[in-house]
């Protein structure tokens, strides 16, 4: 078995890549005035050392180099990533870094050496991974040593706190919201000014998409825009209103489903259906009730272990059951136990800790202080479970829970009692009367002396068997005691309806996959050589990495892990979470590597803002509403997104946010927008996944015959128009119209989506039944409400882009309409084909050619770049 994760031994390209993006200022972007008055280890030195030195002198004990003369007397190799090792005396009696004295420090001497055989890092002629360090960087290291060579812990491992708000020139602009102070401070020293506020209609559209994933309805839009009160007040009220909607809960659930790698199938081989949607509904409820994020976290990691756990808390643990599982015959259990535990560690550490722990599956982490042993200690938390590795392709692969209404539950409990009582009676009756069975058996062997019934034939056959098997005998006994023996048949007749009723309740009560702990057992795992499940090294017990605050008294199990993650001492989860929320709103994180806060991850563009948001989040009891409200009411958020030539020049990537970001909506937002604008959206919350339109053959062409998701049976009625988070997600063939718009495949946890711009996206929006039908319904709504072409155009535009069109735009659209109308009038059969697309009926009162032509217009506006962007 090869490595579990592909981490690179040879970091040359990575480092140069990094240096290219971090030390060179993008074209046209002025190098900011960052003359260094005092060198900070975290800001200036660690990036240089991690890039140039850590590969051989860093956390990985496996690749650490002795460095010949600079090894210690005991041969210990040099390690530069931690203060306690960096100042150790070497063979020559001196440490390589002598604080205050760069000239005497071997580190500087080697960095500055002209001799290609001596220089550090290794000269490119000596190693394919060699590199030549920038003189500016060497001089920073020199200055750092001169100033005392102070080490600091990695920035992300220092507990975040609220730094004083910076003083800014745009004090009026930034007066109400701390975010704006931090943002202004960074763009001002680059000579940037903020954009003016976005046009109100556009801003409201942006806000609706960000908070609810849907555009505003025309009623909402009119109400807000016609409100004569101060706009800030109206805006603030709108924010509060939206945070309380079901749409908000659904939208943020959808983000979370990416994180949780939620899907409706197992993901391997047969890729059968899996019932875990009640977990999805739990997430919706959690957002609906705005439960604090720390509680949200704990319940998902260990809800089953909370004392006197409610069923909802158990359902929450579906998070760790969303991973792909295998049922392939012949698979080796242990191999999959290893894979699953590692997958859960990778997911947990990416989502809450911003750590790429998976790197340490095969070797000590190259850059972050996680040893291989610590990785396996983390996997131990997830291995203490009775869950089998192979899922047998079952939708309810145990452990699971069955979810019932309160009435059903009490009914079911009663039934269970009654059934078990009767079953006991029947069993004891059978035992006592076994002789009567034997008599009957002997008497009837030759000829069954019973009135003919539906079983007669098969029973006669069983009776005549010369040497009946024990199974056949059991069948006969069952038959005798349910049909012949009078008390037995009375009991059986009593049982039958109870069992039927119980089955009925079970059938209407879904199951969902959950976590379960082995009671009273210690959680342990083995370290594995290069991640190979057959190559066990030492046995380790569950624990968290030493570089982070210790678990101290917490139990060493999943519940302990959940509490440890959300403890106030843990510096990571709050930062990682607010950063991900920032990314959801701004399209880019303050730390752009939203799943990697380690040494090799990106550094925050606004470290103090990130700390402030994290500290504020925890102060406010992990309240997501508070966090979102703070972000979307900021001036930074409310800016217009237009890009002046000057800003394009100074800040092409919008790192400094002197304008609002502009980027494409997510797959689900685009589809849901079309449904909302067309009035087709079916507002129903939760329940089993649904199957909207999908081209033929997507499932069948890749599925195994035995798979129960081999054929896609398109749904009907409202199921065609539910919000996209309810669409059935088959892992090996995800919904194509979603995938084309970069919905992740849900194989692994996704904390950042890609955004592409491809011709396939054009095909979806132009030709997918869903969008053609939506376009016609949008056209239809507009024709029903408005009478002149101008009004119809604006009605369509307002449904889709929340604003009326400009004169110049109306001219273009009107011309499209005229051309289309001319053609459809000439070819009425084509018009009628177009308006028949989809399951909804066209309004028969509307002239077909006109409706078809307006459908083209609605589709044209639906395809506009402005439509697809926030």
């Amino acid at each position: 078995m090869s490595s579990l994760t592909s981490c690179d031994k040879q970091q040359d390209t990575a480092q140069q890549n990094k240096s290219a993006s971090e030390t060179k200022y993008p074209l046209g972007e002025k190098a900011p005035d960052l003359r260094v008055t005092e060198v900070s280890f975290n800001e200036h030195i660690q990036p240089i050392l991690s890039e140039a030195c850590y590969h051989c002198h860093g956390p990985d004990s496996g690749s650490r180099e002795p460095g010949g003369p600079i090894s210690k007397d005991d041969g210990q190799p040099l390690r530069l990533d931690q203060e306690k090792y960096a100042f150790e005396k070497r063979k020559n009696g001196k440490p390589v870094i002598i604080p205050g004295n760069p000239d005497d420090s071997l580190l500087i001497q080697l960095m500055e050496s002209d001799d290609p055989d001596l220089v550090m890092p290794l000269h490119p002629t000596r190693s394919p991974h060699g590199t030549i360090l920038d003189p500016e960087k060497i001089s920073l290291v020199r200055q750092w040593i001169k100033e005392g060579a102070n080490y600091e812990p990695h920035w992300a491992y220092i507990t975040p706190k609220k730094h004083p708000l910076p003083k800014v020139a745009h004090s009026d602009w930034a007066k109400n919201n701390p975010i704006d102070r931090f943002i202004a401070a960074r763009f001002e020293n680059r000579g940037l000014k903020p954009n003016p506020e976005e046009n109100s209609a556009r801003l409201i559209r942006r806000l609706y998409f960000d908070l609810t994933g849907l555009p505003p309805t025309l009623e909402d839009l009119d109400e807000i825009l016609n409100d004569t009160r101060d706009f800030d007040t109206v805006y603030g009220e709108t924010v509060n209103k939206l945070l309380k909607t079901d749409s908000y809960a659904e939208h943020w659930t959808r983000h979370w489903l990416d994180v949780a790698r939620y899907a409706d199938t197992h993901g391997y081989q047969l890729d059968n259906y899996r019932s875990v949607w009640p977990y999805r509904d739990w997430v919706i409820n959690a957002f609906k009730n705005n439960i604090p994020f720390d509680q949200f976290t704990r319940e998902q990691i260990a809800g089953d272990m909370i004392p006197k756990a409610k069923i909802e808390q158990v359902i929450a643990t579906g998070f760790n059951r969303c991973l792909p599982t295998n049922g392939e015959a012949g698979s080796i259990e242990e191999e999959y136990h290893v894979i699953y535990a590692q997958e859960r560690v990778n997911t947990t550490s990416t989502v809450w800790l911003g750590l790429t722990a998976g790197c340490a599956a095969c070797h000590d982490h190259k850059f972050d202080a996680i040893s291989m042993k610590e990785n396996y200690q983390l996997t131990a938390f997830f291995r203490n479970t009775p869950m089998t590795a192979l899922d047998k392709h079952a939708s309810d692969h145990p452990p699971n829970v069955r979810i019932m209404t309160d009435a059903d539950r009490s009914k079911s409990e009663k039934l269970t009692l009654q059934i078990s009582k009767l079953e006991k009676q029947l069993t004891s009756h059978r035992k006592k009367n076994i002789d009567t069975f034997k008599k009957w058996y002997d008497a009837n062997r030759k000829d069954l002396k019973q009135p003919a019934g539906k079983d007669t034939k098969s029973i006669s056959k069983l009776l005549k068997a010369t040497s009946p098997t024990s199974r056949q005998m059991t069948q006969l006994r069952d038959y005798y005691f349910s049909k012949i023996n009078s008390e037995g048949s009375t009991l059986s007749q009593k049982l039958a309806p109870l069992r039927k009723e119980s089955k009925k309740i079970n059938d209407r009560s879904p199951t969902t996959l959950v976590m379960q702990e082995n009671e009273g057992k210690e959680a342990f795992a083995h370290t594995l050589q290069r991640g190979d499940y057959t190559a066990r090294l030492e046995r380790v017990t569950a624990n968290t990495p030493a570089m982070l605050p210790s678990m101290s008294n917490l139990p060493k199990n999943r519940l302990g892990l959940a509490k440890w993650i959300t403890s106030p001492e843990n510096p990571l989860p709050a930062r990682v979470t607010v950063n991900r929320y920032w990314y959801y709103i701004f399209g880019e994180g303050i730390v752009s590597t939203t799943g990697d806060f380690g040494v090799m991850g990106a550094r925050p563009t606004h470290p103090k803002l990130l700390d402030w948001l994290a500290a504020d989040f925890v102060e406010h009891n992990w309240d997501l509403h508070h966090l979102l409200r703070t972000i979307v009411t900021s001036k930074t958020y409310r800016q217009s997104s237009s890009i002046s030539k000057e800003k394009q020049h100074i800040d092409p990537s919008n790192k400094w946010l002197a304008r609002a970001p502009r980027y494409r909506l997510d797959a689900e937002q685009i589809r849901d927008m079309a449904l909302q604008a067309s009035g087709l959206l079916h507002h129903k919350i939760g329940g089993p996944p649904v199957k909207p339109y999908q081209p033929k053959g997507i499932w069948s062409v890749i599925s195994m015959k035995k798979s129960n998701t081999g054929l896609y049976n398109t749904g009907s009625g409202g199921d065609l128009y539910r919000r996209s988070l309810y669409t059935f997600w088959k892992r090996t063939a995800a919904p194509p119209s979603m995938e084309i718009f970069n919905a992740p495949d849900r194989t692994t946890s996704c904390v950042k989506r890609e955004i592409t711009n491809t011709p396939l996206q054009a095909f979806v929006l132009m030709n997918d039944t869903q969008y053609v039908e939506a376009s016609r319904n949008i056209a239809q709504r507009a024709m029903q409400k408005a009478d002149t072409p101008g009004k119809i155009i604006n009605h369509i535009a307002r449904l889709i882009i929340s604003r009326p069109m400009r004169e110049s735009e109306i001219k273009v659209v009107q011309s499209t309409y005229n051309d289309a109308l001319k053609e459809f009038t000439a070819t009425p059969e084509e018009a009628s084909k177009l308006i028949k697309v989809g399951n909804s009926d066209a309004d028969p009162k509307l002239p077909a050619a006109q409706l078809a032509a307006w459908t083209i217009v609605a589709n044209q506006i639906l395809n506009m770049d402005e439509t697809l962007n926030k």
Binding site: S2, Q16, G330, N757, F763
Partner: protein, 499 residues
């Protein structure tokens, strides 16, 4: 002109520019090739005279066709001739297996004995190279001197899904970028009207074959930019999803609608200044062109009767392997970089004689035809063709062994594949296994899946050490972190590809 100046000239975004700087700085020549993939071809023409299209090495292959035999064909009945198994028929090799330390799958681990299954088919030597080929692949015999059979392939995985992940993405765990998307990323496009990486699903004809599922993970771009993902050209319905205009929409109306859309977007571009709008305008135009080019591609009516005869009787059936092989040639002709044909049904745990024969019949003549067709059209010289399953099969029978019937379980330590074209030496057999095709006995000729990947990249002019992409803090590569090598012994270095 260096990458920086080019960027300035055309106003590239920061991130793209950095990627380019990275390539220019680290990957030597690859910079211009990767650059080519990011620029519209018309712009590329303006800044390159073509000689810059060199990568790390001179590229022998401009295009690749990868034939994936999902389920893993047995080497004993195809390319790895083992006379000893005829002699040892029914011999129980339980103790041999125990000594080998090889793990067994859950399907046969509990068998009480492990009898050697002889091959139901004979072998003959073909061509000047004397390549051993089984009688159920007669057409392969005719092209023995075109192909190089590698009998010393090996992998880490013992079950289908991880083995296929390994084969197509370089890692058993799902989530890595696929081989085709790596090549698309590294080499860029040759045809502005078609995707760079196309995937075809061929139907297998026998209803009895044991069929493994396949998943889009095998052609995903994963962390690579999405445009490098394989585009599944379907053989039923729309070849590209949603390609066909909705009912009632004529080409004329589509054109009008797109013209208007372009004006509207142009206006937004002027008002907002976001250059991504320009990309969108171009992509809608690409879509319009694909609505023409894809039907042209999939319209086989102009293929000659001789061609159909060459590919065999199945070639007129949509979706058959023969149809897909012909389609692969059409894609290659049109400059598609990487074409991958998936053919399922090669998992013969039982009834091997019946089912393997029918599987071989599906692919035998079409493979011969594809190679000859490429040769006739002068394309074989710079097109690399690979024919491979995901692992090998066991010498012992799974389940009941009779004189005429048997099955074989999975075996990762040795299997056989072939490669052809792009300077791969024809008429060659590479690597040897022991008498049970259990272990490879030519230690310096072992070819791991990673080595195969390295070799494919090398043929395309790419150094596998250098083709990398940074994702979530890791430097990702197709060949991962374990050592891998280019199998130079099978490569002809005598002349360079024409550019």
């Amino acid at each position: 002109m260096n990458g920086h100046d080019i960027g300035k000239a055309i106003g590239l975004h920061e991130t793209e520019l950095n990627r380019r700087q990275f390539f220019a700085k680290n990957a030597m020549g690859l910079g211009s090739a990767a650059l080519a993939s990011l620029l519209p071809p018309e712009l590329m023409g303006a800044i390159s005279d073509g000689s810059e299209m060199t990568a790390h090495f001179p590229a022998r292959a401009k295009r690749v066709i990868y034939i994936s035999l999902i389920g893993a064909p047995s080497q004993f009945e195809t390319f790895d001739y083992k006379p000893q198994i005829q002699k040892d028929f029914k011999k129980d090799i339980k103790s041999f297996l125990q000594d080998s330390g090889q793990r067994l799958t859950g399907m046969t681990a509990k068998q009480s004995n492990f009898p050697v299954a002889r091959s139901f088919t004979d072998f003959k030597q073909y061509g000047e190279g004397g390549t051993w080929i089984s009688d159920i692949l007669p057409w392969h015999g005719k092209m023995a001197d075109d192909i190089c059979v590698i009998k010393s392939m090996h992998t880490d995985a013992i079950n289908h899904v991880p083995a296929n992940n390994m084969m197509f993405t370089g890692n058993m765990i799902p989530g890595q970028a696929s081989m085709g998307s790596w090549l698309s990323y590294g080499l860029g496009s040759l045809n502005k009207d078609l995707p760079t990486f196309c995937v075809l699903h061929a139907k297998h004809s026998s209803p009895f074959s044991n069929v493994q599922a396949i998943s889009s993970k095998y052609w995903t771009s994963s962390f690579l930019p999405g445009k490098h993902a394989g585009i599944h050209l379907r053989t039923q319905g729309n070849p590209v999803l949603y390609l066909k205009d909705a009912p009632g929409i004529s080409r004329k109306i589509r054109r009008k609608m797109l013209d208007g859309l372009s004006s509207l977007n142009q206006e937004t571009l002027e008002n907002v200044g976001d250059r991504e709008i320009q990309t969108r305008i171009q992509q809608y135009e690409m879509a319009y062109r694909m609505q023409m080019s894809v039907p042209e591609l999939t319209d086989m009516s102009k293929e000659s009767e001789e061609t159909y005869q060459l590919y065999g009787p199945d070639s007129k059936k949509n979706g058959s392997f023969a149809y897909c092989a012909m389609m692969a040639r059409r894609l290659v002709e049109r400059g598609v970089r990487f074409t991958q044909i998936f053919h399922r049904g090669w998992d013969q745990h039982g009834n091997l004689p019946r089912d393997l024969s029918s599987q071989c019949k599906d692919v035998d003549q079409p493979c011969y035809a594809l190679i000859q067709d490429l040769k006739q059209r002068g394309l074989l010289d710079d097109t690399l063709v690979i024919f491979a399953g995901e692992f090998g099969r066991t010498v012992y029978s799974q389940g009941k062994l009779s004189d005429t019937n048997y099955g074989r379980d999975h075996h990762p330590r040795a299997f056989s594949i072939w490669m052809a074209g792009a300077g791969v030496k024809g008429g060659m057999s590479y690597g040897e296994t022991d008498e049970y095709s259990f272990n490879i006995i030519t230690p310096d000729q072992k070819v791991h899946v990673r080595d195969l990947h390295a070799t494919i990249l090398e043929r395309c002019g790419i150094d596998h050490h250098k083709l990398s992409f940074r994702n979530q803090g890791l430097d990702q590569k197709l060949t991962g972190v374990e050592p891998s090598r280019v199998v130079t012994d099978i490569l002809d270095h005598s002349h360079m590809a024409k550019h």
